[in-house]
Amino acid sequence: MHLIPCPYCGQRPQDEFHYRGDATVKRPAPDAGEQAFYDYVYTRENPRGWHDEWWHHYAGCRQWIKVRRNTLTHAVAASAGPADALPEATP
């Protein structure tokens, strides 16, 4: 049971969250075309290491937060609100 640091609620167990994967992909403009939407929905990096992810605090503050998590060590370096930016980079 991992701890996810919710920027509003503090450290919370992972079962309060739903996971949605890569938080760096941006929904394309409506006229961006099929390939852009295809990439938005399907094309994903599979990084070994730091990964910015969406986690929905469904059992808590109901915010879609961004979490920078290390896929190798499960360490969490930072989190941010849905409209806020994560720090530039984590070494």
Binding site: P30, F37, V41, W54, H56, Y58, P82, A83
Partner: protein, 974 residues
């Protein structure tokens, strides 16, 4: 059989007697005994047969590393196999049986396996039972199952209760020996919230067999008891160290009793979320591989000391202690002082500082000596590396190959272990989580050293957790420093030398694995099953690794040991499940009308988390009768149904309409206040996500309804887009599913029924047309009314503040009585929706597009809509895709089945689609269905076949419109 109980000493209460049985024999022991110590006290030497060779085995250890003394405990529903006798607290009436013997422990026919030992060598499962294939099921498997295996599980349901408990602390201390106690006190006095877990029933670890430190032990316990911020959990084994400093443990609350008390759980699964952890789990003595090292009468030297000092039991009379280190000298001394028989100490080292001390007390010391074999009666001693030996009469052979720090938890935490050449063992490496090891767990032996190290670790942990104050209490003096051990893994001599007693793995098996190419430790482990048994290889894992290293021609540290994973000790799955079984398995939601349903004969059915009425059965009704009665009432008069489970989401804000326009394929900005509209939403990949009606309650206020199953996912979907994709939109959401109960009133008499019940709203067709939304009161309760229909009849849905649902429901029932109103359940609702051709779960199956469901034209011409772009992909826009149609059997007497394939000709292997939903139509008096069929639109009127190979059925069907009833949609507008 003579008693082996010593007249005095130990932590047992000789004034009380406990009766228990082993293999049907009535025996007795004392409070404080384990089953193992009581068996030894009663002179029981043979306690089980080994897994593969069925060799006789005795008690080897005094703790969780026990490989041999596995028993079936208790009887009936509480029967539990593979219980370690060394871990079972004796209680009155305890029933235990040996395992793995047939027909009896003393005479075991399977022991013949031992003669055929070659056939059962490493990898025998892979090599032996390969062919002929049919022999596997008929011969090999039943034979192996009888021969192998470890005891029988109970076949009845477990009558006991279990629970989970989640604890938090600043410092968690694992192990209550000198290091653990000192760490606990240091952290506790610094002000930290401390939890101390001890696997044993008694707190003290090694202190329990150190009479000289009794006073310090007692003082520490008293001091800890006085600290309110310290919690001590005995009988609690910490079995796993997980991410983010979460540890798992098992508290054996009532295992030391015959059965748990009233309202008492038997075991408690615990989680510990700790800021800092001190691992003080001690060390385990390791085996020496030598021929006969599994014979009854072989015991680890530390265990022998425990039986003497803690339990007051003499584990043998004439004893040979075989060691490569100083620790076993204490055992030899204690045995000699007990005055039992001749004690001989064989030390492989050429010199020993302690030799003189123990010799002076009567121990015969033989330096530079090894034991080359043991048969239970005689040990063969010979000079180290020699060939000729001399027999020494011994009924007990004590072994000490050195001590392995218990690094399992540290290793699980992610810290790589480090090889310590002095100890010839692995010690915890650099921590990666908030943990540190202390005392013997990191290779510091002796009470004084452990206590000092523990105090430092406890203080450091408290400081790391944010507590500054310095504790101060007395610690035992540091003892003498020990002489270096001489690494010793195996004494090579003819015969079976075991490295894993529970799985019957020999040193030769390891070498065979190496010869056959399994040179990696993880491969050798799996090929030989070494260290895979319930003792997790605590005795011999490293010995096996060392033998593999020798075969590889490399040092032990180059080979490593297999990865340490949870669990450090076996844990019953039932304990992990806790109380979440039976009625507590998963959350149950009840609508506000739940109790009315129960009082009125509803058959309740779990649908997702909800309990919903399936139908309301009347006396004498069987089969489909109640469903037909309910549906007929709706089609001919009026029915009432609890539809509270629909998801309801309140959407407000200046941009609410814009937001909904992007969410749904159709428009809501054009919806008038006081009206509702059916809407379909897609996933971004273009597949239909959900559908439902949305009402406009005000310019900036909408009420969205979702399907029952998608209520939560739709709200998350809305939140995702509002928070992350279009944060510029000013829109607010809130689930009101539980605030409002919702009641459907449907049927030609629905208006008359409701008109009589509702005040403050004109329900005439002109004033309140189809898709109208209004407010009024029923029985004084303010309600919202929606003129919508799922059944296809003239219908309304009434939303009621949920606490007043029953009042409103009863009021409507009363007004409907003259018309013969019937409450109807899920089955009648489903019958009518299939008749009407409404898509539901089986059609909204995560594979269908709006066009597939005949709703392609709902997509608005312009604007940003979730899923619009990808829905236009060629594969999804293909007109030939399976499309929603109706199916009816050509012969009305034939039944349809959901899941049947639609084919062109009977026997055709080409499926054109499938039947998604079926029912027995009350309007058509036959089975009808909905199906998704390729090119379905163009096949209407054609004859195809619904085949169910599973039922060997083939039914000729006609493809129709999905709207089996009222395709013009006239009734809902009546």
């Amino acid at each position: 059989m003579t008693s082996r109980r010593l007249p005095a000493g130990g932590l047992i209460d000789r004034s009380k007697t406990i009766r228990f049985s082993f293999d049907g024999r009535e025996l007795s022991g004392h409070p404080g005994d384990t089953l193992a110590s009581a068996l030894l006290a009663n002179g029981v030497r043979l306690v089980g047969r080994s897994f593969k060779y069925h060799r006789p085995r005795g008690i080897m250890t005094a703790g969780p590393d026990e490989p041999n003394a596995l028993v079936e405990l208790r009887e009936g529903a509480r029967r539990e196999p593979n219980s370690k006798a060394t871990e079972i607290e004796l209680h009155d009436g305890l029933v235990s049986r040996s395992q793995n013997r047939w027909p009896s422990l003393a005479f075991d026919v399977m022991a013949l396996n031992a003669l055929a030992g070659k056939a059962l060598s490493a990898g025998f499962y892979y090599k032996t039972f390969m062919w002929p294939k049919r022999f596997w099921e008929t011969l090999y498997e039943p034979l192996i199952r009888r021969a192998a295996g470890l005891g029988r599980a109970a076949t009845e349901a477990d009558p006991d209760h279990y629970e989970a408990m989640h604890a938090h602390c600043d410092v968690l201390v694992v192990g209550s020996g000198a290091a653990g106690l000192a760490a606990t006190r240091a952290a506790g006095e610094a002000g930290a919230r401390v939890i101390l877990c001890e696997r044993d029933a008694l707190v003290g670890g090694g202190l329990l067999i150190c009479p000289q430190h009794q006073a310090w032990h007692a003082e520490m316990l008293a001091a800890l008891k006085a600290l309110p911020n310290v919690e001590i959990l005995p009988r609690t084994n910490v079995f796993g160290y997980y991410d983010h400093n979460l540890l798992g443990g098992l508290e054996q609350v009532a295992d030391h009793r015959r059965e748990p008390g009233e309202h008492e759980v038997r075991q408690r699964y615990r989680t510990f979320r700790a800021k800092q952890v001190v691992l003080a789990a001690g060390a385990s003595e390791r085996l020496i591989a030598l021929p006969g090292n599994d014979r009854p009468g072989v015991m680890m030297a530390g265990a022998a000391l425990t039986y003497l000092r803690r339990f007051g039991v003499a584990p043998g009379e004439n004893v040979v202690v075989f060691t490569n280190n100083d620790s076993a000298y204490e055992t030899a001394l204690a045995l000699a002082e007990a005055g039992l028989g001749q004690v001989t100490l064989a030390d492989v080292r050429p010199q020993s500082e302690l030799a003189g001390v123990v010799a002076a007390r009567g121990v015969q010391v033989r330096l530079g000596t090894e034991v080359a074999g043991f048969d239970g009666k005689v040990a063969l001693l010979r000079p180290r590396g020699g060939t000729l030996g001399d027999p020494v009469v011994a009924d007990l052979l004590c072994l000490s190959g050195g001590w392995n720090p218990n690094v399992q938890l540290a290793s699980q935490s992610g810290a790589k272990t480090r090889w310590d050449a002095t100890l010839a063992s692995h010690v915890p490496g650099e921590p990666v989580q908030g943990e540190r090891s202390a005392g013997a767990a990191r290779g510091l032996f002796g009470i004084g050293a452990a206590a000092h190290d523990g105090a430092e670790a406890g203080e450091a942990a408290a400081t790391a957790a944010g507590f500054q104050s310095k504790p101060g209490f007395a610690l035992p003096e540091l003892g003498r420093s020990e002489q270096a051990l001489a690494p010793l893994w195996e004494v090579k001599a003819p015969g079976k030398s075991f490295v894993d007693l529970q799985h019957d793995v020999t040193a030769e098996d390891i070498r065979l694995a190496h010869r056959e190419g399994y040179a990696h430790i993880e491969h050798a482990k799996r090929y030989t099953t070494h260290a895979m048994a319930t003792d997790q290889g605590k005795l011999g894992s490293l010995v096996g690794a060392a033998i593999l290293a020798e075969a590889r021609g490399e040092p032990v540290e180059a080979v490593g040991v297999p990865t340490h994973r949870p669990y450090t000790m076996p844990v019953a799955v039932g304990a992990l499940a806790g109380h979440t079984s039976g009625a507590h398995f998963q959350p149950v939601r009840r609508t506000a009308l739940h109790d009315w349903h129960l009082r009125n004969g509803a058959a309740m059915q779990p649908t997702g988390a909800w309990l919903r009425p399936f139908y309301y059965q009347k006396p004498g009704e069987t089969g489909w009768a109640p469903i037909f009665r309910e549906a007929r009432a709706v089609r001919s008069a009026v029915g009432i149904c609890d539809v509270s489970t629909l998801g309801k989401i309140d959407v407000q804000g200046p941009d609410a309409a814009t937001f909904l326009d992007r969410l749904y394929i159709n428009s809501f900005s054009t919806l008038a206040v006081g009206k509702c509209r059916y809407g379909v939403m897609l996933r971004e990949d273009g597949i239909v996500f959900d559908d439902g009606t949305t009402s406009r309650l005000g310019d900036e206020h909408f009420l969205v309804t979702t399907t029952t199953g998608n209520a939560a996912p739709v709200l998350e979907h809305m939140e995702f887009h509002a928070q992350t994709v279009w944060p510029e939109l000013d829109v607010q959401f809130c689930s009101v599913t539980d605030q409002w109960a919702q009641i459907a009133v449907a049927g030609p008499k629905a208006r008359e029924t409701l008109a009589a019940a509702v005040e403050g709203l004109d329900l005439s067709n002109e004033a309140f047309p189809f898709m109208g939304v209004g407010e009024g009161t029923i029985a004084g309760v303010p309600v919202r009314l929606f003129r919508i229909s799922f059944s296809g009849e003239l219908a309304y849905e009434v939303a009621v503040p949920s606490s007043q649902a029953e009042t409103v429901w009863e009021a409507i029932l009363a007004e409907g009585k003259p018309f013969g109103i019937e409450p109807y359940g899920l089955e009648a609702m489903s019958l009518m929706r299939v008749e009407k051709g409404h898509a539901a779960g089986p059609e909204l199956n995560g594979q269908t597009t709006a066009a597939d469901l005949g709703m392609g034209r709902m997509m608005k011409k312009a604007g940003d809509v979730i899923g619009r772009v990808l829905a236009s992909r060629p594969g999804l826009a293909d007109p030939g895709r399976p499309r929603l149609v109706g199916v009816r059997p050509v012969d009305p007497a034939q039944r349809l089945r959901g899941g049947a394939h639609i084919v062109g000709e009977p026997g055709s292997g080409t499926s054109l689609g499938w039947v998604s939903s079926v029912t027995q139509s009350i309007e058509h008096k036959c089975w009808i269905g909905l199906a998704l069929v390729e090119n379905g639109e163009s096949l209407k009127g054609q004859r195809l076949f619904a085949v169910s190979p599973l039922h060997q059925e083939s039914v000729a069907v006609t493809i129709t419109s999905p709207h089996h009833v009222d395709p013009e949609n006239a009734r809902v507008r009546a």
